[in-house]
Every structure is written in structure tokens, then in C-alpha cells.
């Protein structure tokens, strides 16, 4: 009843081609964004901003980046965290070495650096695919971290290799409170998520999906493989790079190259598997799920066993639950949480009739 698009006629091409053609979707998205910008800052506590919402948003962005590459363009990558590291360290260096560099510009430039590195490591995808490529992206992961650790120039010769994020100032607005950091993160994520949603349905996104579904066929119908694949690598790495910059600046504050290790890459991969491969919504759901799960488990263990539990036990059980969930999701719902929402939408559309 509520979710029924009957009567919504499109009278112009513009109306037909908008990102959310159904009115209910538009209203829902607007309401969610409005709530995120106005409601959440009023409701949530400092702890929530620092430990849960901001990192979840940042991971959503990284997952979005990986989803573009793996979900839309079908190029399996295990190096997402490497590109995040490039973004974080490039942003740091732009801020450090250029006087009066605005943070947002530095962040975009950091993303561009990540995109360039992404293109370089995407080059093998022209020759190899599937597992071979997945393994090849590990080269990016290890090589980037090695460079950042071995050449102290990148961390401004700090003894421990740790970089400390400079103060963020945007047009005289100093971002230092958790709420402000959240709002900044949210703004960046909203813009990039809408851009991704838009890209996915344009010529670019369709070309990605064609390459994903069958690259030989895509080439036959005239999609330039090289351009499409490298574009996917570049845009994906850009997203990851920006996420990395936010990770360093609005979440952690101080960060070392080791923070962007293989585990983080896997985590981001898990986010898109659980959230839904090849959906924008899935990136958010997956990131929220993976961020909240350890906190939830922690609470659960605490409630069940009190303080008597050795910490190693909890972390091992957590590993097992993580792994088990991945397998469970792949078996039961390979399209992830986003698919559940889609099913819900279909049901709503025909409600109150069951079929």
C-alpha cells in the first residue's frame, strides 16, 4: 500500500532518469540523510561517535570502493587496505608539505594518489583475471605497506613510523569535536555514495557490469576492456583512498602503516560479502554489521560470563564467528543483507497480497 509506484508517471526524460525514480525512495533517502545530519548529532553520545558511527561510515566508504571494483566490475581484490594507506599517507604529506593546504583539497589529492597507484596495480588485470588477479592484488597490499615503512619520508621521519593527523580546518571551521568529525565524515560519505549510486546506473556502471558478467562478451559488443577495468580500479582506489584519509583524520588521529594490514583488507571484503556484492546499500549494511558485531559479541560475552573470561578466548571465538558468518552468508544469502531489503521492498509493493 505505502510502497506502490502506481500513478507516478514520468513526463520527461529528466524525470525518468533521476537517481531515485520512485517517490517513496526519494522521501526515504531524504529522511535518512536528514536524520543522519540532524537527528544523530542530537541523539548519540560522544562514545558512539568516536567508536561506532564514524568508523562505520568510513568503512562504508572503503567497502563502497571495493564494491565498485569487486561487486560492479568483477575484479576480485585483496588490497583495499593498501589503497586506504596510500590515501591516508598522501593526505598527510599534502597537508604537511604545502603551506595552507585546505584539508578537503588534500583529501581529494590523497584520493587521486590512491587512484594512480590503483591504476598501476590494476594493469595486471588486463592480462590476468579471477584468482590470479586476487593474488596479484596482494602484491599491492604488501608493497605499499613496505614502501610506507621503509621510506621514512612518508611519515616525516617519525621514529615509529606513526603519522599524527594535522588539525582539520575548513574555511575557518575547526573540526576537532567528535560530532564535527562525524558531520564531516558524513558529508563526504553522502556525496561519494550518491556519486557511486549514480555512476552505477550510467554508461560507466553498465560497462563495469558487462565486464563483470563476461568480459569476452563485453569486448565483443564494443566495451573497451582496458579503459573500463582501469577506470574501475582508479575509482575504487579513489574511494578507498578517501576512506583511508578519513580513517586517519576523523577516526584514529594517529595511525601507522600497520593499521592498514591484510586483516583490514579482509574485513572490507567481508563487509561487501555480508552487505551485498554489487550494491551501494550493501556497503553500508555490511560495514555497520562488521563494526557492530565485535561490540555486540563483547557485550554478549560480558553478560554471559562476566569478567572471568580470558580475553584470548573472546577474541578467538570472535574469529570463529566471523569466519562462520561469512560461510553462512555465502551459503544462505549470497547476495547479502541488501538482498533482504530488496525482498522486503518487493513484498511491500504487493502488500497486502502475499503473491
Amino acid at each position: 500500500m505505502i510502497y506502490r509506484e502506481a500513478g507516478q508517471f514520468k513526463a520527461s526524460y529528466e524525470a525518468d532518469m533521476q537517481i531515485f525514480p520512485i517517490r517513496q525512495d526519494r522521501i526515504a533517502i531524504a529522511a535518512i540523510v536528514l536524520f543522519a545530519f540532524v537527528g544523530v548529532p542530537l541523539l548519540a553520545s560522544e562514545y558512539w561517535f568516536q567508536a561506532i558511527i564514524t568508523p562505520a561510515l568510513i568503512f562504508s566508504l572503503a567497502a563502497l570502493g571495493l564494491n565498485i571494483l569487486t561487486g560492479y566490475a568483477g575484479q576480485l581484490s585483496l588490497g583495499a587496505a593498501g589503497f586506504m594507506a596510500v590515501g591516508a599517507f598522501a593526505t598527510y604529506n599534502f597537508m604537511l608539505r604545502i603551506d595552507g593546504m585546505p584539508f578537503l583539497v588534500a583529501m581529494v589529492l590523497g584520493g587521486v594518489c590512491a587512484a594512480l597507484v590503483g591504476i598501476v596495480f590494476g594493469l595486471p588485470s588486463l592480462r590476468i583475471k579471477g584468482f590470479y588477479l586476487a593474488v596479484a592484488t596482494l602484491a599491492a597490499q604488501f608493497f605499499i605497506l613496505w614502501v610506507l615503512v621503509k621510506f621514512p619520508w612518508f611519515s616525516n621521519y617519525s621514529a615509529s613510523g606513526v603519522i599524527t593527523a594535522q588539525e582539520i580546518a575548513i574555511l575557518g571551521w575547526t573540526v576537532d569535536e567528535p560530532v564535527e568529525k562525524y558531520l564531516l565524515t558524513l558529508a563526504v560519505v553522502t556525496v561519494l555514495a550518491l556519486a557511486a549510486k549514480n555512476m552505477a546506473r550510467t554508461h560507466t556502471g553498465r560497462a563495469w557490469m558487462a565486464v563483470r558478467d563476461m568480459d569476452v562478451a563485453a569486448e565483443v559488443i564494443g566495451i573497451p576492456l582496458m579503459k573500463t577495468k582501469l577506470q574501475a580500479f582508479a575509482i575504487s582506489s579513489f574511494y578507498c583512498g578517501v576512506a583511508g584519509a578519513l580513517y586517519a583524520y576523523t577516526y584514529l588521529g594517529t595511525v601507522e602503516p600497520e593499521a592498514f594490514n591484510l586483516d583490514l583488507s579482509f574485513k572490507i571484503l567481508f563487509m561487501i560479502i555480508i552487505g551485498g556484492v554489487g550494491t551501494v546499500l550493501g556497503s553500508f549494511l555490511g560495514a555497520a554489521f562488521i563494526t557492530l558485531l565485535p561490540i555486540f559479541l563483547n557485550q554478549l560475552f560480558h553478560a554471559l560470563f562476566g569478567d572471568s573470561l580470558p580475553p584470548a578466548f573472546a577474541s578467538n571465538v570472535e574469529l570463529m564467528i566471523f569466519g562462520g558468518l561469512i560461510i553462512f552468508f555465502l551459503i544462505v544469502e549470497p547476495h547479502g543483507l541488501a538482498r533482504l531489503w530488496q525482498i522486503g521492498k518487493e513484498k511491500l509493493r504487493i502488500w497486502p497480497f502475499p503473491h
Binding site: G130, F131, D215, V317, L319, F322, I326, I327, L330
Partner: protein
């Protein structure tokens, strides 16, 4: 020059160990089309179980680790554990994923990696353990005397064990009925099922075989470097070996392992000082990548023809 050969031989021998882990990958991939990322975790699990059981045997029966009785007891229990693990994996993971895209199966094995790592440490704890399998890590005397070269006896034994394992596996895959069934499963799950290949049993066999290879690799690596979480990462070392040698080729895994092992050590010794060292974390990957640009299917991989 002697130094060069020393480095080369040390590299070749450690490459043999990489090849051993890579072999586990090839085995499962060749026989079921699954790219098993969890092989490293299985190596860790096997080694940890072996050591853990040894400790329990000492506690219950007073069999000291390293003694023959303890070795045999631990070996049997660990083998049994690997069989149980294979059955559980088949029952709870693979059966639900029949005929899914191979990428999905691959991601499931990443999940499996986490699960096994967690399980191993949950049961046996995460302390670093020593492992004694009765082979000492000392230089071979006559080589030291005659050519003035340091070659570890341990490495040589490990290489010999790996060679025997490869020979057995090759025979098994090429000349037995089960071997043929395995290859049928790798080509197409559903087609294999429909001509009467017992998919479930085949999968269990494959994973048991991979478990045995993991156990051998775990024993050798564990005896070398101690049984610790880092063992799980030996899998990452084996990956460039795989892409170099081709995913489906047992000889490829061996040759790839030798090349990677040797070039990694040589690069570390001769190139490392110019760029600050520690390049063995990525050098194999970059090398394998560069190689793939010339020959995308790897050294011995099957040439793949794309059709629409």
C-alpha cells in the same frame, strides 16, 4: 662464489617448503576447482594439534615429545583430526555451495581461514611452541669439508620428504580411478554429479589429502620456526609460487617454489641492501606478476580459451 651458491641453495631449499604449502593449494584446486585460501590455516591447525597432542601424551602417559611413541601417537591423532575437519568442511560448507561460482567458494575459504585460526587457538592456546621431529638443523659435514658450503641437513631432509609426497600425489592423481573422478569434479560439479561421481566423498578425499599435505608442511615449518600464528601466513608465501607455477600443476608448484625461494633469497641478499631490506614480503609477488604479464597462465598452467 661459494657465498652465492650458499644463498642459492638455501633459497632453493626454503623454496621447497613453499612448494609444499603450494602443493596443498594445487591439490584442492586441481581436484575440486576450489581455490582454498584456508590451506595456511590448515597448516597451522595441523602443527598446533600435533604439538598439543604431544603435550597431552606427556601428561597422561609420560611420552616425551620427540620420542618415537609420542611422534606416532600425535601423528595418528592429528591425522584423525584432519579427517574430521575435512568431513566437517564438506558437510557444513561445500555441500551448501555446490555449483556456485568459484569466486564464491574462494571467499568462503577466506571465512574458513578465520574459523580454523580461531578454532586452533581456542583449543590449544596461542603460545609459540617448539616442535621436535628428530631432525637436527646442522650443516652437512662433507659439503662443508669438500666445497666449504653451508647446507642444512634439515632443509635437505625436508626437500626429500616434499619430493616423495609429490611423487605419491602425482601417481594418485594420474593413475587411479579416484584421481580421475577428482579431475571430473574440478571441471564441473554438476556434470560430475550427474554421471555418478560421488561428489561428497570426492570432496572429503580431496580435503583429507590437503590436510595430510598441510600436516607435513606444518611439521617441517613448525620444526624450523616454532609453531606459531605466523605459520598461517605461510599460505601467503605460497601464493606467488602458485601464480608462477600455474594453479593446476603439481610440477608447477615445485618449480615455482624453487624459483620463488631462490630469487627471494638472492634478491634479499643482493638487492635488499640498496632499498633498505625486507623486500621478501613483496618481491615474490612482483616477480610472479611480472612473469604473468608475459605468460598469463603461469609456467605450467593450462591455457585457457575464452568463448562467449
Amino acid at each position: 662464489m661459494t657465498f652465492f651458491f650458499e644463498v642459492l641453495i638455501a633459497g632453493l631449499l626454503s623454496g621447497m617448503l613453499y612448494a609444499l604449502v603450494a602443493l596443498g593449494f594445487v591439490l584442492i584446486f586441481k581436484a575440486s576447482g576450489v581455490f582454498n585460501f584456508a590451506q595456511g590455516a590448515m597448516v597451522y591447525f595441523a602443527a598446533l594439534t600435533f604439538v598439543g597432542v604431544g603435550e597431552k601424551l606427556l601428561l597422561w602417559f609420560g611420552w616425551a615429545p620427540g620420542s618415537f611413541a609420542s611422534f606416532l601417537g600425535s601423528l595418528l591423532v592429528t591425522l584423525a583430526a584432519m579427517v574430521v575437519l575435512a568431513i566437517l568442511i564438506e558437510r557444513f560448507m561445500l555441500r551448501g555451495l555446490v555449483n556456485q561460482p568459484l569466486i564464491t567458494l574462494f571467499m568462503a575459504t577466506i571465512g574458513l581461514t578465520f574459523f580454523i585460526d580461531g578454532l586452533a587457538q581456542l583449543i590449544w592456546g596461542s603460545n609459540v611452541r617448539g616442535l621436535d621431529i628428530g631432525i637436527t638443523d646442522e650443516p652437512v659435514m662433507w659439503l662443508l669439508d669438500s666445497a666449504n658450503m653451508l647446507v642444512s641437513k634439515f632443509d635437505l631432509t625436508a626437500a626429500a620428504i616434499a619430493a616423495i609426497l609429490v611423487a605419491v600425489l602425482t601417481v594418485f592423481f594420474q593413475y587411479t580411478k579416484t584421481g580421475r573422478a577428482l579431475r571430473a569434479v574440478a571441471d564441473d560439479h554438476q556434470a560430475a554429479l550427474s554421471i555418478g561421481v560421488p561428489l561428497e566423498r570426492i570432496w572429503v578425499i580431496v580435503w583429507v589429502a590437503a590436510g595430510v599435505v598441510a600436516l607435513v608442511a606444518g611439521l617441517i615449518w613448525g620444526a624450523r620456526n616454532g609453531v606459531q600464528y605466523a605459520l598461517s601466513f605461510t599460505a601467503l608465501k605460497a601464493l606467488p609460487v602458485l601464480i608462477l607455477g600455474g594453479f593446476t600443476s603439481i610440477p608447477g608448484a615445485i618449480v615455482g617454489g624453487l624459483i620463488i625461494g631462490a630469487s627471494e633469497k638472492l634478491a634479499e641478499v643482493y638487492l635488499g641492501p640498496y632499498v633498505g631490506g625486507g623486500i621478501d614480503s613483496w618481491f615474490p609477488y612482483i616477480m610472479a606478476l611480472a612473469f604473468l604479464l608475459i605468460r598469463p597462465e603461469g609456467l605450467f598452467g593450462e591455457k585457457h580459451i575464452d568463448r562467449v
